[in-house]
Symmetry: C2
């Protein structure tokens, strides 16, 4: 099913459980759950759609908690109507292995959405799970790796019955016409995009190596950005120092990630400029 940008796909998925196809409003709230930190729009969309949320913090280094830990947690609900798992995840950049995802969602009774917005920069994808299990949906978008964020096009892969239910509930004309043409056109240029993915991964390795060399602790990334814990002084101060040198990177205030900065992979020249600026910060502060 073609949808309209990954966040709107999520909204649609949420709606499935909040608003039944019968047209009757539900008496009780549906539960949407996800790990934190993850995509910041999950709680926003859940609130808009009147759903309750449950969250569990990711393990050390933003790994998935193991099953035993999850079973012991009163915060995780294996019966939840809808569970979102972003893989590779944002803002950590970390991917979860298909094997680990499989052992996790096999314990779930509700629908599990594997949000693969960044999957083209990863070593693995979980498409086979969506094709093999009736309660697993893979969500993809043309907004990241295919540079079409201006056009808001995404899609779900999953069991025909689940897709049919979502199709029934989506707004009409939810994907604009130029977006459809643009998305289809990318398929005629896959070699171009694949070369782009390789280039970004190579630049990501280059940036990781150079930042490690000057004391940053860079988390292994499977996305087009990295999350790095900078040395010497707080991440928030790093942001300000880098901005002074006209380098813009991101910082999030949430407790789980406040010690990190997020850097989008640019060109080799751009990431070299960042490393040069970081060296200069270290020398002068």
């Amino acid at each position: 099913m073609i949808g309209n940008g990954s966040d709107e796909l999520l909204a649609l998925a949420t709606r499935t459980f909040v608003e039944p196809a019968s047209g009757k409003a539900r008496e009780s709230r549906s539960t949407i759950q996800y790990f934190t930190p993850s995509y910041s729009l999950y709680p926003v969309l859940a609130a808009i759609h009147g759903a309750a949320t449950r969250t569990v913090r990711l393990a050390k280094d933003f790994a998935l908690p193991d099953l035993t830990a999850l079973r012991q947690s009163s915060d995780w609900d294996f019966q939840a109507a809808l569970t979102f798992i972003t893989t590779p995840n944002a803002p950590s950049g970390r991917a979860f292995s298909t094997r680990q995802l499989e052992s996790l969602y096999r314990q779930h009774r509700g629908v599990v959405v594997l949000d693969e917005a960044y999957v083209d920069f990863a070593e693995e994808n979980a498409l086979e799970l969506a094709l093999n299990y009736p309660h697993v949906l893979v969500a993809r978008t043309f907004s990241k790796a295919y540079s079409l964020c201006f056009q808001r096009v995404g899609y779900f892969v999953g069991h025909p019955e689940l897709i049919a239910a979502l199709d029934k509930l989506r707004d009409s004309y939810n994907v604009n016409g130029l977006g459809q043409i643009g998305a289809l056109a990318t398929l005629d240029h896959l070699p171009y995009y694949r070369a782009n993915f390789r280039r970004i991964k190579a630049t990501r390795a280059r940036l990781t190596e150079r930042l490690n060399a000057i004391g940053f602790e860079v988390l292994p990334s499977q996305t087009n950005f990295i999350l790095a814990r900078p040395p010497e002084f707080p991440a928030k101060k790093w942001i300000e120092e880098l901005r002074r040198q006209k380098i813009l990177v991101r910082w999030f205030s949430h407790p789980e990630v406040k010690d990190y900065i997020r850097i989008t992979i640019g060109t080799d020249t751009e990431v070299d400029a960042l490393v040069q600026a970081a060296r200069s910060v270290l020398e002068h502060c």
Copy 2:
């Protein structure tokens, strides 16, 4: 507020009343009401959003029922959360006067949405009502008169508090970037569009006159289409006969409009070809 195509604007408006901003689901269903026949997506969107619907049939020749009749009707609810009035209306092509709309919605306690999708082809618009009354919203779209249906861009005009509530509930990125640029670009070319509106209105008058001359009863239109009751044999047969001559016009099976065909205004050459085909049908059938 900029939204995403008139139908998605309607969805947003519906959601306001179904899903409160608090994130708590409502226990009871909200009521959405509208006159019939009108835009066919109102009932679809109401069902998707879990809202109840109330409808009242338009009066003779698709005029608004008068207030006395509405007050006597047990089907109309002056307390309804949300009332949609399409003006000019589809599929009739008929517009309602601002004066009549004003006397109607002044009786309403809930929000009244004046859906002006076709207003650029009309003699009057009701924008002043949205600007003057806190419970009136005017919905506009770039999909009709501005030829941007491929990009799904529309907007609401209304009281700042109402707009702020809708803004809180809309999906993020609900209007795509190219659509925004396209919509803004139309503002630099208003003389072009206004010439287009004049041309369409002139062609509409030409088509109306020529169809009247061969026995069609054409309803007065304020849109870029006309609704006409054809002579001699049923509307459905007309559709088939015209299709045989490679002329495609629309027919709706709903009881209120099943005796009519809807014809979109094309170029002078196109509408002349239609009239010629209609003459030929009359001669040979």
